[in-house]
């Protein structure tokens, strides 16, 4: 397979997200928000109450991640993806609010795939367990909500050329299905 490389930036329009294809190797720059299990549960509660979310999801990317603590002088500690499937319960609602991309690792449910296709959201896999390498692409990071959750707080990060692969695109492509099939024997 030829690897197609693209540089992308968040926030991103729906139109641009729809041009990405499963298998594209992307370098992500710009703004990325971080939220994992406990933060998603809280965001869901906020929506149920009719409150605002800690950040506007529209056109933005959320990274499923919980970093290790930064040593003095470091921007962040190790910062690889966590298993996205645990956020499947919450994702469709955020996608419908205009979430443009999800960054994580692992398989997603059909409900998430359907919502993503319909609303123009992509799922990007960062390399699981490459937390030190990914940390080097994070240029700034600050807690913007739920500080008491520690490693599960919501962060706003600026990233530069963070490598990822498009797994789910908006036209039904699913790299976790198609690529392994080519090597199965």
């Amino acid at each position: 397979m030829e690897i197609t490389e693209k540089k992308i930036r968040f926030p991103m329009t729906e139109q641009e997200a729809r041009t990405l294809r499963a298998g594209d190797y992307v370098y992500i720059s710009g703004n990325v928000y971080v939220a994992r299990d406990a933060a998603h549960a809280r965001m869901q509660e906020a929506l149920d109450r009719g409150d605002a979310l800690p950040f506007d999801v529209k056109d933005n990317a959320v990274y499923y991640m919980g970093p290790s603590p930064a040593r003095p002088g470091q921007v962040i500690g190790s910062a690889g993806p966590t298993t996205a499937g645990r956020m499947d319960k919450y994702a469709p609602r955020l996608i419908e609010l205009g979430l443009r991309a999800m960054l994580g690792k692992g398989r997603r449910t059909d409900e998430v795939k359907e919502a993503a296709r319909r609303c123009g959201c992509v799922y990007l896999a960062t390399v699981g367990g490459a937390g030190a390498l990914i940390a080097k692409c994070i240029k700034s990071s600050r807690v913007i909500a739920y500080e008491e959750l520690g490693a599960e707080a919501v962060l706003e990060m600026t990233v530069e050329d963070l490598p990822a692969v498009v797994v789910l695109d908006c036209v039904g492509g699913d790299l976790y299905e198609t690529e392994p099939a080519k090597y199965a024997r």
Binding site: Y25, Q74, G85, G129, K136, A184
Partner: protein
């Protein structure tokens, strides 16, 4: 009787927590290099290249290999002729506490599985003791990440399912784990014993050197066959397709009941981290 100071136990555990999370053992590093040479998929090769680069950065810049620095699992082999001058349990837990706090490792433990409040120092660790003759005190530390742990399984097979059933179960567990377990994976497998014994063997099997084989010929052959079958699945590095899905399948066995054939598969990732020390 040989006396071991509790504070030395704490110090050893504290150091192991940090070392294991910053560098892989040589055998694991070699296994990843071999995988990169063997991988046929361009994307798979790229993922493996990133993992090697990740290891270099982790070591040079003191950033944990993976942000999930795990729940601490300790295996303690305690000789009957060893006297520890304090609470061994407390000394071990204190070592984990200090290792995670001083080492800037992530605190990933909640004190109650349902109330889910973080204990903020990664304790308690999960500790297994084995009492043996002599005056040895050996401690192994294994930080276990949740992504792969959550894909682990115990199968209570019927004896009639035999070796074929066992192999199918292991392969199925690996395929189901797929991209969630950060492949290339390492599989710890326990066959026999009781329900929980098989799981314990599986966990312990993850401590084995990558590339080593069971001394039992029929089990060594099974390890090779299962590894090959998993690698034929096509899942590949990162689950993005390829010919290297697992680095090793380590199988441990134990006697079992006439009516039982338990098979536990503890899935671990390319960040299969551990350290062992004798005091």
């Amino acid at each position: 009787m040989r006396t071991v100071r509790a504070q030395d136990v704490t110090q050893a555990v504290c150091e192991m927590c940090q070392e294991a999370n910053l560098t892989l053992t040589q055998d694991m590093q070699q296994a990843l290099r071999d995988a990169a040479a063997k991988e046929e998929s361009a994307l798979g090769k790229r993922v493996l290249g990133q993992l090697e680069e990740n290891l270099r950065i982790a070591e040079e810049e003191c950033i944990p290999i993976c942000q999930d620095t795990g729940m601490a699992v300790l295996f303690v082999t305690l000789g009957q002729e060893v006297y520890v001058d304090g609470s061994l349990e407390d000394a071990l837990q204190e070592g984990v506490r200090r290792g995670y706090v001083e080492g800037y490792l992530r605190k990933s433990v909640v004190g109650d599985p349902l109330l889910r409040v973080n204990t903020k120092d990664n304790t308690p660790a999960v500790i297994y003791y084995e009492v043996v003759p002599g005056d040895v005190l050996e401690i192994s530390f294994e930080p276990k990440g949740a992504g792969s742990e959550n894909m682990s399984r115990v199968f209570m097979l019927k004896p009639a399912q035999g070796a074929e059933g066992v192999k199918d179960a292991i392969v199925q567990a690996a395929i189901d784990a797929g991209p969630n377990a950060c492949p290339p994976m390492v599989l710890g497998v326990g066959i026999g014993g009781t329900f929980e014994k098989s799981a314990l063997l599986a966990k312990k099997a993850l401590l084995r050197e990558a590339g080593s084989h069971s001394p039992l010929p029929h089990i060594a052959a099974m390890e090779e066959e299962v590894l090959e079958r998993i690698n034929r699945s096509g899942i590949g590095p990162g689950g993005l397709g390829g010919t290297v899905t697992a680095l090793a399948v380590n199988i441990e066995t134990y006697a079992t009941h006439i009516a039982c054939l338990p098979v536990a598969v503890n899935i671990c990732c390319h960040a299969t981290r551990h350290r062992t020390r004798r005091l």
